[in-house]
Structure formats: C-alpha cells, structure tokens
C-alpha cells in the first residue's frame, strides 16, 4: 500500500468558474509538462460565465496515455457546491485536498481516502488585503501545496509564474508568496510526498502543449488565409481569436503597418459563410469557424459552394448535440450532417485532425484542397481537441512549400487557351476557373447555384445537368487520392479484427490497444484522417473479419459513412460509442472490444 505511484495519476481540481482558478490550474499542468512527463489537462466547464462548478482534470502518464481516465487520485476540492459528489469520484487510497480554514463537515468524511487540509482562505486573508487578490491567490496556494505533496520542482513552477507575468512584474512576488504559503504548510503538516508523486522524466522530447483551436488559427495564417468571417459560438470562438492574434503579430505589413488580412465578425453564421464564399470566389483564401448549430445554418450556402464549385474552408469544432444540446461538452456528432450538408445530392470533404500538429497542418492543407477541388472542406475538430491543451509534436513548416491555388487561369493563359468554366479539360473532373479582374475581355463567366453548361450558361436541359453532376462525382473520385491517408499502427495487418477511429478518439483507442496488447490481445488499428475515404481505408476494412468503429456519438455516424461510401456489410462493423459528452476512455473501449 505504501509503494508510491510515480507519474501515473489523475488530479482533479473542482472549482467555481470566474474565480481565476483556470490560470492556476494551467500552471500546475504546465509544470508537470516541463518536468518531462506527458500530461493531459481537460477543462469541464458550464455554459455560463460566473459562479457555477467547473472541473479541471489533469492526467499525468509517463506511458503517454493521454485520453481521459475515470477515477480521481488526488482531488483538490475547493467548490463546496459539488464537494459531496466530487468526493465520490476519488478512488480508494486517493487524496482529498480541501480548504481547512473551516472544519470539514462530517458529510464529507469518507472511508478509504486520505484527507489533506490546507487553510487556504485563512492564509490568504492573513497575507493579502484586497478581497479580489485573496480569491486569486487562494488558487496559487493549493498549487504550492501540490508541489510539496507530489514532490514536484518548485523552480519549474516559479519560472512559469515569471513568464506569465513577464509584463506585470509586480505580480510575481505575491504569486511566489502564495505558492510558498501552500508549499510550506504542506511540508510542515504532512508527510511529503504522498503516495503519488511526480518525478522528472524525459518523455516529452521536442513536443509542445497547445490547444487545437490555436493550432487551427495558426494553420490558417500559414495556409495563406486572408479573409476570416465568423460568428461567436462555443467551442469554436478561440479559433477566430487565435487567427486574429497571430495575424496581429505575423501579418502586419512592415512598411505601412496595415493588415494583410481581413477579420470580420459577421452578424450570424449565414453571413459568415456567405463572406467566405464571396471572398473565395474572388480568389482569396477564406474560412470560417463554427460548431454544429452554425453548420446547420450554413447548409444552404454550403450547397451553393458545392454546386457552383467555390472553395470554402469550414472549421467545425463539434460539441454535444442535437440543437443547443450540451454546448460545453464534447462529442463527434456532426459527421453525417457535415459530410452531406445541404439538400440535394451533395458530399463534402472532411479532415479529421487528432493533435494540434495535425490541426495546424490540415488547416493549411484544407486551403490547398479547397482551392484545387473548388469545393467546401471541413476541418472536423471537437471541443476536447479544440479547447484543451494537448501534447503534440511541434508544428512544422517547409519553407519551400508553395500554396496550391489549383486550376486558375491567368491573363496570359486566357490569351492562349480555350476557357470554359466547367470544361473537364484534364479529365479529372476539376475545371479551370478565372478570378474576377483578370482580363478585360476574356474569361469572365457567370457563377450560379443552378444547373449550367460547360460554358457556365444557365440550362434546364436534363442531359446538361446530368453531365454536370457526374463530372462533380468524378472530381470526388479524384479527391480520394489527394486527401490525407489513414495512419496505421502496425507494419502489416496481424489480426482478423481491426479497430477504426479518428480525431480525439485516438488517445483512448491507442491506450486501449496498448493495454490489450499487454494482455496478449492484438487488434489492427487504423486512424482515418479524411473523407472521401481513400483506397487504404477500404482495403483495411476488406482485410479484416470484424472491425470496431470507435466514435463519440449515439448513432454511429462514422460507421454509417463507412458503410454508405464503401459499400461495406454493416454486420462487419461493430460500433463502439460513447456520447455522454465526456471524452471517451480506454476502459469504455476495452469493455466493448472484450464484450
């Protein structure tokens, strides 16, 4: 019982939102990261601004298991409103850290867990006079205590404090003081370390910690987006914020101080996508970021972009649906509504990043795909990936990389070649377009959401229509070999059973595989990274007897997409579904795989 558990635990901070705890909690997680141990913080917050419960779960795993795990090892319980329930989440042998300024009510006493009281409020009231600072520094007190209790390195955290307040230096000493208050109290009153401790390791390499949304915003900067139009909606808002922030740093014309971008907060999602379409039609790289309700509102326009063949990049940071659903919880519930958005026969490209590095890369790539295929491209992220910091390979950019603007005819081209906006010159279903303003007398055409012939002329002729839609289908076929290929986790297939997953489901899926392999059970695994599905996806499914499709929605939407598009026998595909709004766990997957 007394062997210490090292670098493998979940710490939960139970707070109230608006209390400033998030910043302190972040510093704690970052400290673990700086000590070289993989860490995965997840913020569980309410759809409100102040005064309601939030939780911040920090999983620390030297093995690199970064999915969510049920069961709390160390609970920092500073929200009386949820204390009762929070305590239930602590595993036997776990710890409860609470504010002992007042005596703990007996309701909160449970057998089998350790109690660590720190008189947080009492100490800050003694040391700080301004009430709002008392509240703030209380958070730092428990961080200090944790450093002692888990045997962490105070210097690491101090450095983080220094960096955080680099521009407000006077705030550094009081923060240090708060850390020390907690640290010293713990040291003096408890056996440190407790049964859980955090020891420096070397498991991080050159990895970074980043939120998916920030990486997407940055990816758009690198990908050459010049127009962003958006409307605020959780959990996508920080994509816009990141884009703007990075633009302000990286996209100001050095000569004039003017902006090499336009950033428009639109009046709603219909306007946002309309602006994206207008800008892309006019030759700029443009995008929007939204969530399910926004995509629903955009669906008429998405059909226009699809059928009139206009590039558009749409970031869908998914949240719990349907309707307003669970706006601050995570799900992957918009697979079908994004893939088939809009009335009529439509299909849209989807990219499924799993890490911030992929968020960055896929966003940049989305602009190439959208421009090349002249069609909407969705980046399918989710709240978990978008709003939590994730351990990720560093972001990469090859300076010799060129934007692929696709088949755009220049003034010179127009002088020498025939132009028909919807002529399939190359036989790949992708036609040449011109940008307004290119040539005084050549290459203008009329764009519309109706059926039209190869020279962009309106037509109600049945055969003309059939030609158009069949050519667009051909384009779809072409795209299959252009989108990111799946990732495999075995050199060669070794099992008759496979698992398929995508996006944030990856973390728990890999953990489950690893654990099962430890038990001598081996599943082949494939992470799908794009729709349309490339041939490898079809092959993987074809070469296994049974395939488990792991996803975070109720209706097994990704599985439906596989069945529909690859003509797979449904019997072969076993759904593994978690849809309660919390990120899926390895345990849930293992349970299902083992029946």
């Amino acid at each position: 019982m007394n062997t210490k558990t090292i670098n493998d635990m979940v710490i939960r901070f139970a707070n109230v939102n608006g209390s400033g705890s998030a910043s302190a909690n972040d510093m704690f997680a970052k400290s673990v990261f700086r000590m070289g141990i993989p860490v995965s913080p997840k913020n569980i917050f309410p759809s409100n601004i102040q005064g309601l419960p939030t939780w911040f779960d920090v999983r620390i795993s030297e093995k690199g298991y970064l999915g969510r795990r049920e069961g709390i090892d160390v609970l920092v319980a500073v929200n009386p409103a949820t204390m009762k329930k929070d305590i239930e989440s602590v595993l036997p042998g776990g710890y409860l850290i609470y504010d002992s300024s007042k005596v703990l009510h007996e309701d909160y006493i449970r057998e089998g867990i350790h109690y660590i009281g720190i008189p947080m409020m009492a100490m800050v009231m003694e040391h700080y006079s301004v009430p709002r600072l008392q509240q703030l520094f209380k958070n730092m007190v428990y961080v200090g205590a944790l450093i002692a209790l888990l045997d962490m390195e105070m210097e690491v955290t101090r450095n983080i404090v220094k960096e955080t307040f680099a521009k407000k230096e006077k705030l550094v000493p009081p923060n240090f003081q708060a850390l020390d208050l907690g640290y010293n109290y713990a040291k003096e009153n408890y056996d440190c370390p407790i049964n859980f401790c955090v020891k420096r390791a070397d498991k991080i390499g050159n990895k970074i910690m980043m939120e998916g949304n920030a990486a997407i915003g940055l990816g758009a900067v690198y990908g050459g987006a010049t127009v962003m139009a958006w409307y605020p909606i959780t959990p996508s808002t920080s994509v816009a914020k990141a884009f703007e922030t990075y633009c302000k740093k990286l996209r100001i014309d050095p000569q004039t101080g003017k902006k090499n971008y336009a950033f428009v907060q639109s009046e709603d999602e219909l306007a946002a996508i309309g602006m994206v379409i207008g800008a892309a039609w006019n030759g700029a790289r443009a995008f929007t970021a939204t969530s399910g309700p926004g995509v629903s509102l955009m669906s008429e326009f998405i059909g226009l972009a699809y059928f009139a063949e206009i590039p558009a990049v749409i970031v869908n940071v998914q949240r719990g649906g349907p309707s307003t659903g669970m706006p601050t919880r995570t799900q992957q519930p918009d697979i079908l509504s994004s893939a088939y958005a809009s009335h009529g026969d439509t299909k849209h490209m989807l990219l499924f990043p799993s890490t911030p590095a992929e968020c960055f890369e896929f966003t940049a790539q989305a602009f190439d795909l959208a421009d090349y295929f002249q069609t909407p491209v969705f980046i399918m992220s989710d709240l978990d990936l978008g709003m939590n910091e994730h351990l990720s390979p560093p972001l990469k950019w090859d300076d010799s990389r060129k934007y692929n603007l696709g088949k755009v005819m220049s003034a010179e081209d127009l002088e020498t070649k025939e132009f028909g906006r919807y002529l399939d010159v190359d036989g790949d279903g992708v036609c040449y377009r011109t940008i307004p303003g290119t040539h005084p007398t050549k290459g203008s055409f009329f764009t519309r959401g109706t059926s039209r012939d190869e020279y962009a002329q309106y037509s109600e002729n049945g055969q003309v229509y059939v030609n158009v839609v069949n050519r667009i289908s051909k384009k779809w076929q072409t795209a299959k070999s252009h989108v990111p290929a799946p990732e495999f986790y075995q050199k060669e297939n070794e099992s008759k059973q496979g698992i398929v997953f995508f996006g944030t489901t990856t973390y728990a899926a890999l953990e489950a595989m690893d654990i099962l392999e430890g038990h001598g059970r081996k599943w082949d695994a494939m992470r799908v990274r794009a729709f349309p599905f490339n041939q490898e996806v079809a092959d993987f499914i074809a070469s296994h007897e049974k395939v488990f499709v792991i996803e975070q929605n109720k209706d097994a939407q990704f599985r439906s997409l596989l069945i529909n598009e690859l003509e797979v026998n449904p019997k072969k595909l076993e759904p593994v579904l978690v849809y309660d709004g919390k990120p899926i766990t390895a345990t849930a997957i293992i349970d299902k795989l083992m029946n």
Partner: protein, 351 residues
Amino acid sequence: MTYIKPIFRHPLLPKNKVGFTKKDYEGAISTLCAGCGHDSISAAIIQACFEMSVEPHKLAKISGIGCSSKTPTYFLGNSHGFNSVHGRMPSVTTGANMANRDLIYLGVSGDGDTASIGMGQFVHAVRRNVNMVYIVMNNGCYGLTKGQDSATADFGSISKASKTPSPFQGIDLVGLAMEMGATFVARSFSGDKSQLVPLIKAGMSHPGFAFIDCISPCVTFNNNKGSTKSYSYVRAHNEATSLLDFVPEEKEITMEYEEGASKEVVLHDGSVLLLKKLAPEWDPSDRLSAFSKVQEAKASGEILTGLLYIDLESKELHDLFGTTDTPLNTLREKELCPGSEALEVINAGRR
C-alpha cells in the same frame, strides 16, 4: 453572354475613354417579361458604366435570387457575375470586397431578396459601409414566385397572388438605410433614366455603401396602389380572362421630369404612383434634414426621389479595418506565410 455573340464590333460605334463601345457593356438577352421595369434598370446600368468608362473586368456584379437578381446576366457580359442564394447577396459581396478592394462591386437585389429574407444582411452591410453600389429593384412583390406581396408592398395594395389588401405597412428601405447610418442613400424610378444613370454613377464613385432604392413596376403581378379607383379597365379585363398563366406583352414605362417637381406615373395596371424629385438646391449632406424630409414625404404619401443623403466623410470597410492597399487576393507566400523560423519561436513558446 458576350462570348456567344459575334466578336465583330461596328467601327462607327462611339468608344469611351477606356476604348469600349456601349455594346461592350451589354449582356445576354433578357428573359424577363416584356416591359418589366428591371430591364430599364439594366439599361441604366449599362449606360452608367459606359459613361463612367468602367473597365468591365474591374467590376463584379452580384445578386441574390428573383427576377431582379437575374438581371446581372443581362448587362455587363464581360464582367464576372455571381447569382448567389436568396437574400444573401450582401454577405457574398462583402466577402468578395474583402478579397479585392480594387474592383467596383455592383449588388443587385429585389425587394423580397432585401426586405424579407435578406433584411439582416442588408442592415449589416449598411452598418459596415461595404464599398459597393446596392440597387434594389423594388416592385413591391415577389415576381419570380408569381406575385406574392413583399415587405415593401404598400398597405392596402392588392396582389394578384393574394387578392386581399395587404394589412401591413410597407417597409421603406430608404428610411431604414438612413436609420442604419448609410453613407449614400438614393431613390429613383426604373423609367427615369435621366435621374437613375447619374445616381448609379455617383454610387460607383462613393467610397462606401451606396444604396439606390429603385422603384421598378412588375408588369405581370403587381398593383402598386390598392385603392379601387386606380383600377383601370385593363386590369379589370385581365381578371375577366382569369388566366394566371397569361402574361400580355407590355411596353416599358419611361418618363422624365424636372428636379423639384412631382409627377404621377401611370403603371400598366392603371394604378398611379406619385413621385417627387428633390429640388436642385437640396443639400444631401445634412443628415438631420434628410431624416425629416423622408419622414414628412412618407407621411404625405409622396415618393421622394433623388440623392437623399451622402456622407462626404464616408470611410469604407477596408479603411475602418486598416487593410493593406494591395488586394488581398494577390498576396502570396511571401506576404502571407511567416515561415518556419517564426514557427519555431511559437513552438518554443509552447514548451
């Protein structure tokens, strides 16, 4: 569209400063009903662009859905055009404008397209002062879907579709644009080329949102006045034949009148509009008096035409945003991509 027309240009046609003849500003043959006011507006647009020596490829024409929104096919065949979705021309144009500030943007819409489904986008395009000319071809009805009342239909007017008097006050788009802070607000009548052409030219010169509410009778469906006395014999006769699928060919209504004067226009159905032109001494830069003038005219049942208001200090959206002077759609890797070094700094900040 011009590419299906013979390339041959008559050598004697007069050319404008940039070397184009008026023919170069035409489009495909209209498929609107004979006599439709919208065609007159198209003609005014052609005339204005010719006179302004607009290079056709430096203008983009964008519309929503409706008979009115079809017109961009019928003018400026050498300009790029975009017939988007119903009511959403403002956002598409805003986006296009963001991408390239150097073109002239001509947005065409209908009263259904603007005052009903497009109301939100219209108001917000006004508020952003997007640099464009926004023409509403206002016929008080939904032409393309067969004549239902639009939100600009007059109180008491009777449409062919509903046959009952409209119980609602018509929305005055000019008053609305003023209220929303538009920097250029005008009204005209489709048949009044002598007024309309200069207004369009002024709008194209205005750095910001130039709004032109252009009354444009629908010969097929609309009756602009609902009072029974204005029903003419023609109308009564149409009813007798009772064939909704029968659209008699009508002639375009054209008219001219002096600044400062009033004029009654008799429409195809025999109903009458009372137009009043602003006097030549009208000062369109005085916001408060423009406001009262519009309200007074409305109260007295007159339709005030002319340039009602212009903000001479207007700053268009790019200026408000501080966008670079170079069109964004011409920027490439060099200006846009911060490169791997900057990225390494960002990575470092994330460790």
